[in-house]
Amino acid sequence: MSDHHNTDDSGPAARVKALEALLTEKGLIDPAAIDAIVDTYETRVGPRNGARVVAKAWMDPAYRKRLLADATSAVAELGFAGPEGGHLVAVENTDRVHNLVVCTLCSCYPWPVLGLPPVWYKSFAYRSRAVSDPRGVLEDFGLELPREVEVRVWDSSAEIRYLVIPQRPKGTAKMSEDELAAIVTRDSMVGVAKVEAPRT
């Protein structure tokens, strides 16, 4: 509710325009560089990167091992790196453990593998309740976990950025790595959803 978007409010739009114009005049920024950054995060860096990492980990046991041991390097093998990706850590969901990632203090998120965070991840509702009532938050996403499953919440308070490796769903044994990558969702890599097998 409070994390509304002022699409119809000229206030921030006018202020950003003023700021960009002023900084351009002073030679502190280059509008073309701004365009390039926008393009990067709108079209190139996003959860498809993370999905490829997860699919490879599902297919390739040696890669999974490297990913769990040093995610920064394992992710770099696929060509993904950049800001907010200097210290990546992968945490794996199993039958016994469910991982969930939050940043209670701001909005830390593993950009190179998931892109920029969605509004719900930055929302006050998520930031406040994910640590104190993770099971309730998961229910907001329609995910009810059995009591026997251990919930591990990772609060990204420092420079470590977490990627959840969701469980590979049953009935996907015959799928290729590319096909698997296509079913891995952003939400499953933050830990608020499971990956579902495609209905055939």
Binding site: S10, G11, A13, T104, S123, D133
Partner: protein
């Protein structure tokens, strides 16, 4: 609103409304279907502006985070995510002297409500102190499995030690190595490099037994060494001493 620090009021923002872990009343989490990366063109520009201009203005990441925390609480909660980035960027660029308030206002559309253009409370934190030179590479005080307690620290200024873990007992799960210390770095008071650990807390230690949690559930949070103290003979000695009083 152009949030610009006034010279006089230097107020801490530890325990600000941004430190919302464990708070209540914000309602349900509502995901948006097929959410775009940005919701308006100004959000696009703001994101890219912030990430590119901070270097030029010599603003470090801790400082930028702290600037967001310095937005007055009511405004913080009433603002959208990129509005907070915008407020922080304006604040820092004006404080650095990169641009002036007047220049910014002159560029803006005359239709903006002048009431929004007001000075806000400054929450700058402590004045910078000089970094000690010639310090040795820090050794780790704790190792995996050590029981630790998050200190009850309420420093003036930026910190990454949230309220909800302070005073609580946990276990070192992993040593992430040496990182710059945000509490000083945000105020240009030195990088104070030190070990940062993944510390595991039982959910019930944090939220009490009434929590809607199983006994296995836990929260892992990354905490710098200065945030931690060992739980050992010391702690027991203290409680015995207190009882003797």
């Amino acid at each position: 609103m152009l949030v610009v620090a006034s010279e006089s009021a230097i107020i801490a923002t530890v325990n600000g409304v941004h430190d919302m872990g464990g708070m209540d009343g914000f309602g349900a989490v509502v995901p948006e279907k097929n959410e775009p990366v940005f919701h308006a063109d100004w959000e696009r520009r703001m994101y890219a502006l912030a990430t590119s201009v901070m270097g030029a203005a010599q603003v470090n990441i801790d400082e930028f985070r702290h600037a967001i925390e310095r937005i007055p609480p009511a405004r913080y909660l009433a603002s959208s995510y990129y509005e907070r980035w915008l407020a922080a960027a304006e604040m820092l660029l004006v404080e650095r002297g990169v641009v002036t308030r007047e220049e910014l206002l002159a560029k803006q559309d005359a239709s903006i409500d002048p009431a929004w253009i007001a000075n806000a409370v400054a929450n700058r934190g402590p004045a910078p102190i000089k970094e000690k030179s010639g310090s040795k590479p820090p050794r780790a005080r704790f190792s995996k499995g050590d029981r630790v307690r998050a200190r009850n620290l309420n420093p003036a200024g930026h910190t990454r030690l949230p309220r909800y873990v302070r005073g609580k007992a946990g276990v070192i799960a992993r040593d992430w190595g040496v990182f710059v210390f945000p509490d000083t770095n945000a105020h240009h008071a030195g990088t104070k490099p030190q070990h940062c650990y993944s510390v595991s807390f039982d959910a019930r230690e944090l939220w009490g037994k009434s929590a809607n949690a199983s006994s296995r559930d836990r929260v892992l949070i990354d905490l710098w060494e200065d945030y931690l103290e060992p739980i050992a003979a010391k702690s027991t000695a203290r409680s015995i001493k207190k009882r003797k009083k």
